[in-house]
């Protein structure tokens, strides 16, 4: 029997890509939820076996509570990482994918689905980065490269992590990526050890 999958993601393009990817691998997506939906009702009505959720979604806190629900559901929902010891799920979380499953579901059935999700998230990330790249002019790109280098050096991050950190700061502060990069460079100058 196929597993019923619910996706929670605000990024419409990524949802489409993920849905297609899952369908290609023979998995059925029974629903998509966004922040404005009544998530508790949706989970009750759709009864998914597995929920793939963007790490950035505030809805995660609602899902964390469903392990406790007994009146609405016969079995609680748990974070997939509870069930599996290996680093794969931790790696998935670093890629921005978190997963919740019906308690007791065999981890072997879930992992291939998470692999598909991680692959699609990574692809989407790359596409978005390329699109951003194309939009930027040369000077901006240089500033961002330099800030990325500074972050990699000072914080021991990989190139991708440094880029994502700046993207997140830009989103949080409603700034353009290049403005964040300039701030990072300015701070790096100020905070340089005076020796």
């Amino acid at each position: 029997m196929g597993l019923r999958i619910l996706l929670i993601d605000e990024d419409a393009a990524r949802v489409t890509a993920l849905r297609e990817g899952l369908a290609d691998s023979g998995y059925e997506t029974v629903g998509v939820a966004s922040l404005t939906d009544d998530l508790v009702a949706k989970v009750r009505d759709l009864a998914p076996d597995l929920i793939i959720v963007d790490m950035e979604s505030p809805s995660r806190d609602t899902l964390e509570d469903m392990r406790r629900i007994t009146a609405d559901r016969p079995r609680p929902i748990v974070m997939f990482v509870d069930q599996s010891e290996d680093n794969v799920t931790a790696e998935a979380m670093r890629m921005g994918v978190s997963a919740y499953v019906i308690d007791g579901l065999n981890p072997g059935r879930v992992k291939p689905i998470i692999d598909v999700a991680v692959a699609r998230f990574a692809e989407h990330q790359k596409l978005r980065a390329e699109l951003d790249q194309a939009k930027m002019d040369l000077a901006d790109r240089k500033a961002i490269e330099r800030a990325k280098g500074a972050l990699m050096k000072s914080r021991g991050l990989t190139e991708d992590q440094a880029y994502r950190l700046m993207q997140k700061l830009a989103m949080d502060q409603n700034q353009r990526l290049v403005d964040v990069a300039r701030t990072v460079m300015a701070l790096a100058q100020v905070l340089k050890p005076e020796r």
Partner: protein, 422 residues
């Protein structure tokens, strides 16, 4: 000119910390923007997190070095409740107070129709609510739904305490759900929930928008009870003892600064920004000063200790307070008798690290790890401290006392706090 003495001992000067957009993330924002981190040799990057689950996971995975946390979070993570089982610890409380319970204006009208005294009496409100629940059951109406922000949160436990005060069983008589803070107003307006417990500014915001009535503050439930903590993993703390203490010194200094009324205007301007709390600065300034909006178009309620950042030994990580929270977790059915609460609390709170940081700042700190919670009806003085510390009332709704020395891990618990002999 930066004072550089001692910076060489820092294991790292670059630190990344997470926070959730709530008023009580203020110590982190102020420590960064007013230069307290820099003063202690630290280059701190702050990241706003979309959910408590994400914040917890990123600390557990080492993406964040530490964070603004719910007091129950390091306890839950250490016990392996939800998510990765990662030992965490907290050596510093960031604030007292600042939570509240809001109900929809419809439910408020019903409560007032049952008992007009509800407007200024918390126990009258909860009794009236119990009467409404009983009526609904008789009419076979669906149960009322209340929301908290996270399963392992003071908001969940305070909501349960409030419901139980009126004689309701939080697990049987109402439906409890979790809704992210930013979504609370939307849910309330859409009628998906009838009320919620959340941190500032999301209660007063509902009042000023006319969609809800604030029926209780944390002060009504547990006067000057601890709220957020600064949490790190045990592994990080062991590898970075000096950086950890430098962070605590900066945060404590930010808390002292925040308690000074002259700084409330500046603090509210920093916190109001879209990337931080994203709420009107005037509202934040009023809350910092203890002026709470509880009802649409009504004068604010004055509660000087609505949010406390440093006074009353606020930053000290009392083990007895973590034990109280573990007791609340037992009552909520989140932990069973297999978990030894006293040993778990002792692993998670780190009072000795706080004392070292306070001593480095020349501030007084308690010399005991536990105190009898919720016993003081008036201001009092803590003499078991390096210098006596002025303390505030700490009553619990319904007047129950929590004596950590009498804590019995094996005693059966009920979901309520009220009906047992103390």
């Amino acid at each position: 000119m930066l004072v550089q003495i001692g910076f060489d001992s820092l294991e790292t000067r670059s630190v990344t910390l997470g926070f959730i957009p709530l008023l009580d993330c203020a110590p982190l924002i102020v420590a960064r923007d007013k230069g307290f981190f820099r003063k202690h040799g630290l280059d701190v990057m702050l990241l706003r997190e979309p959910s408590w689950a994400s914040l917890r996971d990123r600390v557990a995975l080492g993406v964040l070095d530490g964070a603004h946390m719910l007091q129950a979070m390091p306890l839950a993570a250490t016990a392996g409740l939800g998510g990765l089982k990662v030992p965490m610890l907290s050596a510093c409380v960031l604030n007292l107070g600042s939570n509240g319970i809001t109900v929809s204006t419809e439910l408020w009208d019903q409560i007032c129709a049952v008992d007009a005294k509800a407007a200024n009496d918390t126990l009258a409100t909860t009794s009236a609510l119990a009467a409404i629940v009983a009526e609904r059951r008789k009419a076979a109406a669906p149960p009322l739904t209340f929301a908290a922000t996270f399963p392992y949160s003071s908001h969940n436990y305070e909501l349960r305490l409030w419901l139980a005060a009126g004689g309701l069983d939080p697990d049987r008589d109402v439906r409890l759900v979790v809704v992210p803070p930013q979504q609370m107003l939307t849910y309330l307006t859409a009628g998906r929930i009838d009320g919620y417990c959340v941190g500032a500014p999301w209660n007063s915001l509902a009042a000023v928008q006319g969609v809800g009535r604030v029926v209780a503050t944390k002060g009504d439930l547990w006067e000057n009870g601890p709220e957020k903590v600064f949490g790190v993993t045990r592994a990080w703390a062991e590898r970075h003892p000096n950086t950890h203490r430098a962070l605590l010194r900066a945060l404590i200094e930010a808390c002292v600064w925040l308690d000074d009324a002259r700084n409330h205007g500046e603090a509210s301007a920093l916190l109001a920004l879209p990337g931080i709390v994203n709420a009107p600065a005037a509202l934040i300034e009023a809350l910092l000063a203890g002026r709470l909006f509880v009802e649409f178009d009504a004068p604010p309620r004055i509660e000087p200790d609505f949010i406390v950042f440093h006074r009353y030994a606020a930053n000290f990580p009392w083990r007895s307070q973590s034990l109280w929270t573990l007791d609340a977790m037992r009552r909520a059915g989140q932990i069973g008798p297999k978990i030894d609460c006293l040993s778990l609390a002792s692993q998670v709170v780190a009072p000795e690290i706080y004392r070292a940081a306070a001593a480095e700042l020349g501030l007084s700190a308690p010399t005991i790890d536990d105190k009898t919670e919720v016993t003081h009806a008036v201001s009092w003085t803590l003499n078991q401290a390096t210098r006596p510390i002025a303390m505030a009332p700490d009553r619990l709704l319904g007047g129950r006392i929590f004596d950590p020395s009498k804590f019995d891990n094996d005693a059966p618990v009920t979901p309520t706090f009220m009906q047992e002999p103390s």
